[in-house]
């Protein structure tokens, strides 16, 4: 194999692909490599950790065909150190690959690629829809943080994508809070639910381009394809709870508040939160204020009061402050609406004028 790739193109591609290689030690050596293929259809880089996989086409010149697997970490380090313009050439001979760029030359030992797994694509081609890359990246990266970090319940460690009636709904919950975001699709009539492990979703969001993306899925796999790349992930094979039933339908009090105000007030209060990370939120309809209160017997205490527009009854609820602050990343609206039912029931957070987002936080014991 003998190929040459523009330096910038090479390092971008390596950074994208290396994300999908296996980082744990003790597994199959081929899994911690990037497979570089040169053929009639150009240059391709592949990596997989058996959860997710990527096949990326890279622009470059092919002088002779071939395939070679190189350790992903080594390539990453090389890619990180490349500077300036110009091409990088890769030449494969024996069990060595020679990289030449300008005056520099390095040789890397190859890894046998017989063990490099196949990257499976969904079998049925009918379950597909297209969506803008920017949109799906935003959905994944904002919602996936709310999925459970523990893998004891695999469905909660996943984000749930529901395609129904021309809408894509993305949900994640760790059973203490729940985030839901919606985006319109231009394809109506398709129905389906897919659970993507949250960890994988975050990786996928990092590498998808901003352009139109075709999403295909079947029972076990999903694939995100663009003309130059395919990213696949296994799907969690479990059923997702019917979370809509826990969303309170009515509320006793509603408060509208500037997001920035609440965010800074919360940050100041958090300093005094206790080991339970508890912050109390009181809604006072008489004075039209929301106040945040935290107390730590070792540190001290703090109250932050901010004005808000309030309808309904007075109510005080306590929350884990990490869960409260997670709401701010979910919407771009300037103001947010807080809706509460009563003590012991979850609080709903929405963006004003933003119907696409819903965030639910379970309170703490008082």
């Amino acid at each position: 194999m003998n190929i040459s790739i523009e330096k910038k193109e090479f390092s971008e591609a390596v950074h994208k692909v290396a994300r999908f290689s296996e980082k744990r030690a003790g597994t199959l050596p081929a899994l911690s490599t990037i497979l570089i293929l040169a053929g009639d259809d150009g240059i391709k880089m592949r990596a997989t950790n058996l959860e997710t996989g990527i096949d990326l086409r890279v622009d470059g010149k092919v002088f002779s065909h071939g395939a070679v697997a190189l350790p992903a970490t080594t390539l990453q380090q090389i890619a990180g150190s490349l500077a300036g313009e110009g091409d990088l050439s890769l030449e494969h001979a024996g069990d060595l690959v020679t990289l030449t760029s300008g005056g520099g030359k390095s040789t890397i030992k190859t890894v046998p690629y017989d063990d490099f797994p196949l990257i499976p694509l969904p079998e049925s081609a009918t379950n597909t829809f297209t969506i803008a890359g920017t949109l799906i990246k935003g959905l994944f990266s904002s919602v996936a943080a709310c999925a459970s970090a523990s893998t004891v319940r695999p469905e909660l460690a996943s984000i749930c994508l529901q395609v129904e009636g021309g809408m894509l709904t993305v949900v994640a919950t760790d059973s203490f809070r729940l985030a839901e975001k919606k985006a319109p699709l231009n394809k109506k009539g398709l129905q389906g639910t897919l659970l993507i492990p949250a960890k994988n979703a975050l990786d996928i969001a990092q590498v998808l381009p901003d352009d139109e993306i075709e999403v295909a899925f079947d029972e076990h796999q999903c694939a995100f394809s663009t003309p130059t790349s395919v990213v696949v992930s296994r799907l969690t094979n479990a059923s997702y709870p019917d979370y809509r039933q826990i969303i309170p339908r009515d509320h006793a009090v509603e408060a509208v508040v500037l997001k920035k105000d609440l965010e800074t007030a919360l940050r100041r209060t958090t300093v005094f939160s206790d080991t339970f990370q508890k912050v109390s939120l009181s809604i006072d309809p008489k004075k039209n204020t929301i106040s945040l209160f935290a107390k730590n017997t070792d540190v001290g205490e703090a109250v932050e009061r901010l004005s808000a527009k309030i309808h309904g009854d007075a109510l005080t609820l306590s929350f884990n402050h990490r869960f409260l602050s997670a709401a701010f990343n979910l919407t771009s609206s300037e103001s947010i609406v807080l809706q509460a039912v009563r003590i012991g029931r979850p609080l709903i957070v929405r963006g004003v004028g933003d119907n696409s987002m819903l965030y639910l936080i379970s309170p703490m014991n008082q």
């Binding site: 058996l50 196949l118 469905e155 129905q191 296994r234 709870p241 508890k278």
Partner: protein
């Protein structure tokens, strides 16, 4: 090695595979797989975590694995690979993340599939088949094998808590698995009524009709609640005809036989009974024991034989109540950290036993004698006539089990008998209860007389 045991077979395969491939390969590809089942036709099903594994097994390891299982026995015809549900794999041991203090959202209650309403927990794997429901079970199997043709409609009836809902939902879940792409819908008749009235109010009756006609398998639970709802019955009648004419399978359940449902149109009754109507009868003691054991095992608690026997024979009631009792015991066991013994079970199940009045021995004797149609004096006498001995043993058993009177005092009160006689009688009845369902019924009737 027991070659019929999936676990042992898998252990053997692993030891063989380990010898022929590199450790890295072995760790990557084999640590998360296991044998799901060995089918009767000699196909070994291996469960793997994802499509990556399935493709790779087929490409790289299929011949190797096949050779290994063939060496064990020629009965193994083939190997197939299944991608298994995440929850069936070994759960990673992990401490709960520290979100201390926060209340959990009640997500656990809502694991229901929206598009078909089926609860995935109800499957045939968890369904206990005994003589009391084997007919219904096999009818269900036939209905799944040849949907819409053999038994259409399938009408399952039986008293509350006999497992009707479990069975009909299991049919739905199995059907879904066997015929992916076909549409299943489960609903209760009450939901059907509400849906119908809503559609009439909203002026969308046509959409209502279309909605239900698209299903390949329609399961309607508790149809007895349709009584007196004439319009809904008419709608169901038309729906039934449409589905039946197009050979779509319909499954009904009810708490009584089709003919016995009051206030329901004759033409609908006839149609209910036109396919196959099977009843689920009272579970026999063995089945109850299996149910108790299975239920406890699903919670990870192993109960000793005498405990299982105690729960399933002493306490009457539906399977649902039985499950409640097991849950109770499991909870106690989890608090204490060990499986409870008979004494503790008795303690913890006190609330489940029938309300007890302080009843006199004489009262029990009177009632039992009356039940068996003998004079109460003969109970106290030293006679050994058959028709007296049995009731006398029943009395002793009841006094012991239900009223916790000591063996010696039972003996003393029943005409000065030795306590060993009483022990023998109690054991005898207890033993016969397991095999003799008429005796169980008699005891139940007597107990209801005593309350």
């Amino acid at each position: 090695m027991d070659k019929g045991n999936p676990r042992e077979l898998w252990e053997y395969i692993l030891t063989q595979v380990e010898l022929s491939i590199s450790p890295a390969n072995f760790n990557t590809w084999f640590t998360n797989s296991f044998i799901v089942k060995i089918a009767d036709d000699g196909v070994v099903y291996i469960g793997v975590p994802s499509q990556f594994f399935k493709d790779w097994y087929l490409k790289k390891f299929h011949t190797l694995l096949l050779k290994i299982v063939r060496d064990v026995s020629y009965e193994f015809r083939n190997i197939e690979y299944l991608i298994v549900k995440d929850e069936r794999r070994k759960p990673a041991k992990e401490a709960r993340p520290a979100a201390r203090g926060a209340l959990e959202l009640p997500l656990n209650d809502y694991y229901i599939n929206k598009s078909d309403n089926l609860n995935p927990r109800y499957t045939f794997d968890t369904f206990v088949v005994g003589s009391f429901n084997s007919l219904a079970y096999s009818a269900a199997q036939v209905a799944i094998e040849r949907p819409g043709i053999t038994y259409n409609p399938l009408f399952i009836y039986g008293d509350t808590g006999r497992g009707k809902t479990h069975l009909v939902q299991a049919i739905g879940n199995q059907y879904k698995k066997q015929y992916p792409g076909r549409k299943v819908f489960y609903l209760t008749s009450e939901k059907f009524v509400v849906d119908y009235t809503d559609s009439v109010q909203g002026g969308t009756a046509n959409r209502f009709k279309d909605k239900y006609r698209q299903y390949d398998l329609l399961i309607m639970d508790d149809v007895q609640f349709l009584s007196k709802k004439d319009k809904t019955q008419e709608e169901l009648f038309h729906l039934f005809n449409t589905l039946h004419d197009t050979n779509k399978q319909i499954v009904f359940s009810s708490d009584r036989a089709p003919v016995a449902i009051p206030d329901i149109a004759e033409r609908l009754k006839g149609r209910f009974a036109s396919g196959m109507a099977v009843d689920i009868s009272e579970p026999d003691p063995e089945s109850r024991m299996v149910i108790v054991r299975k239920k406890a095992a699903s919670h990870g608690v192993m109960l000793s034989d005498d405990v299982v026997e105690y729960i399933s024979t002493t306490l009457s009631g539906s399977i649902r109540e039985l499950e409640g009792m097991v849950n109770n015991i499991v909870c106690h066991a989890q608090v204490k950290g060990q499986a409870p013994d008979l004494l503790e079970v008795r303690q913890s199940l006190r609330s489940f036993t029938r309300p007890q009045k302080n009843i006199s021995v004489k009262n029990v004797v009177d009632r039992v004698a009356e039940f068996y149609g003998i004079s109460e004096d003969s109970i106290y006498e030293k006679t050994r006539r058959r028709e007296v001995v049995r009731p006398r043993q029943v009395i002793m058993y009841l006094l012991r089990e239900d009223f916790r009177i000591s063996y010696p005092s039972i003996g003393a009160k029943l005409g000065g008998r030795d306590h060993t006689t009483v022990i023998h009688s109690c054991e005898k009845i207890k033993g016969e209860l397991v095999v003799d369902s008429t005796l169980a019924k008699e005891l139940q009737s007597i107990r209801s007389l005593l309350v």
